[in-house]
């Protein structure tokens, strides 16, 4: 049985004027344990909605989401979240205090939680930065804190909402590489939201392409049979790129036409 299961999930937002907007409609998807699942789609297609629903930040209008056989009814520490921006970090806490936040809430003893937090701080490559405040760190470093903060809590899975979208191109490539390595060592299940085909192929073990919103759902899923480090110039990489591009091209066009 799969770890996560979306069953005909519909989410309708109501605007202040009382107009209904069905972001996703009868969205159905299964994610297996140990997968790195990339959910790819044009902007405004409801990718983030899917993540918010699975995280438990919002409730579906209809349909059900199961995680580990239990229905998702709210946020829980078995689903760690990494947000796109840095506004989820606690500006009054240092890097290491941010990382140990979850452990502290659980009542773990100070020495033990500090020890664990330092281990993850090292793991995400922030050695020596533990006493800095988020405002003193670069965008890439702040995303590393978010990743460490989620991982140290030992969640069953990690939900990542375009975590590198706001970074510059060089930092983004580096972070993708490091995340890929991190995933190969931890094998934590990941749901990764992105609009970047490159990123999806670089990271994903499977890629789900979403249709243009409203009433979005999964158009198709592609298995990425690439192992180890992936290079954008490999033939196999380019083959996947073409395959994903074929699938998403019309959706992007629709999305732009509807927005305009």
């Amino acid at each position: 049985m799969s770890l996560v299961s979306f069953r005909a999930v519909t989410k309708i937002y109501r605007s202040l004027q009382g107009v209904d907007y069905p972001a996703v409609e009868r969205f159905t998807l299964d994610i297996d344990a140990g997968e790195f699942f990339c959910l790819l789609g044009p902007s405004g297609c409801g990718k983030t909605t899917v993540l918010k629903l699975l995280a438990g930040f919002e409730a579906p209008s209809s349909g059900e989401i199961f995680m580990d056989g239990r229905r998702v009814t709210g946020a829980s520490r078995d689903r760690g979240v990494v947000f796109q921006g840095d506004d989820s970090l606690y500006g009054w806490l240092t890097a290491v205090e941010n990382i140990e936040f979850g452990l502290r809430m659980r009542g773990m003893a100070r020495a033990e939680r500090r020890r664990r937090a330092m281990r993850y701080l090292d793991l995400v490559g922030l050695t020596g930065q533990e006493r800095k405040y988020p405002a003193e760190l670069s965008g890439g470093m702040k995303q590393r804190i978010q990743i460490a903060r989620a991982l140290v809590n030992e969640p069953t899975m990690l939900l990542m909402d375009e975590p590198f979208a706001a970074l510059d191109a060089q930092t983004r490539s580096l972070m993708q590489l490091e995340l890929a390595n991190l995933w190969r060592t931890t094998r934590t299940t990941v749901l990764f939201i992105t609009h970047d085909i490159d990123e999806a192929i670089t990271l994903g073990s499977r890629i789900g392409v979403m249709r243009a919103g409203p009433r979005s759902d999964v158009k198709g899923v592609i298995d990425v049979a690439l192992d180890g480090a992936r290079s954008r110039t490999d033939d196999a990489f380019i083959k996947y790129y073409k395959q994903v591009y074929e699938m998403i091209r019309d959706e992007v066009a629709k999305s732009i036409a509807r927005a305009g």
Binding site: A55, S76, F83, D87, Y90, G91, W92, G102, M105, A135
Partner: protein
């Protein structure tokens, strides 16, 4: 040598600014106005020194400061929890907004008459007025601070397993501190206005009383000593607030 240079870099601008202020004052009073009604800074400082030596200035100063502190602290302690509740719970906000939105437009100076009728001319009426002038600003800023918390801060805490109480104590409260301090800083400025006005009308001592006596007995130097004391006191207190806001908010993302 290096410390001297560092001190100069931090405080040099202030020193020059203040020096120029007193220089302009001196020039204006000696050459421009040249009247006993506008004494030069030197005369005012001499008078200030004399009033400090005989303890009169300290008596007035401590009377005003005590009133401000008592009312300001009580007003803040009252305003912070109300503001937190209004920012956190919509029904509370709906219920209390008529009070805050109505009362905050009645200036505390306008309440002096009522305060004297209710509480007499003693300490109670002044402290009431300072509380009155403090509480609404603190409430409004605190509530605004709570509503300004990025939803992702709360969501992150939820996903890390924090309970509602923990989110309030460890996320909402610290995130609101800079707003609370800003409200208190504004309230402190208002407290100065209010206390002087109240003491002008009814008091036995205080910096406002000193102004009033100065007018009654034509002690122009005394009036200026009181004014300069108010300015310096206000400046010092405001610096303290700015420093504490910076210490808290400095750790913040630049946006907040």
């Amino acid at each position: 040598m290096r410390t001297a240079r560092r001190l100069w870099r931090i405080y040099g601008g202030y020193a020059v600014g203040f020096a120029s202020l007193f220089l302009l004052w001196h020039l204006a009073s000696v050459y421009l106005v040249s009247s006993v009604l506008f004494p030069p800074p030197a005369a005012v400082f001499r008078k200030g020194l004399a009033l400090t030596r005989n303890g009169v200035l300290l008596e007035h100063l401590s009377a005003s400061v005590q009133r401000i502190l008592a009312g300001f602290l009580a007003g803040s302690l009252l305003g912070i929890p109300i503001g937190l509740a209004m920012g956190s719970f919509r029904p509370v906000r709906k219920l209390l907004e008529p009070y805050t939105e109505f009362l905050r437009f009645i200036p505390s100076v306008a309440m002096i008459t009522v305060a004297v009728i209710w509480f007499g001319i003693g300490e109670a009426s002044k402290i009431f007025l300072i509380i009155y002038t403090t509480v609404f600003i603190v409430i409004i800023n605190t509530a605004a601070g709570v509503s300004a918390i990025a939803p992702n801060k709360i969501r992150a805490a939820q996903a890390l397993g924090a309970t509602r109480t923990q989110i309030f104590l460890h996320v909402a409260l610290p995130a609101t501190v800079p707003y609370i301090l800003t409200g208190m800083r504004l309230a402190m400025a208002n407290s100065f206005t209010t206390i002087v006005a109240a003491e002008l009308i009814a008091a036995n001592e205080g910096l406002g009383k000193m102004l009033w006596d100065g007018r009654m007995f034509m002690l122009v130097d005394d009036i200026f000593v009181s004014l300069v004391t108010l300015g310096l006191l206000g400046f010092a207190v405001d610096r303290m607030f700015r420093w504490s806001i910076y210490t808290f908010a400095g750790k913040y993302s630049p946006a907040t």
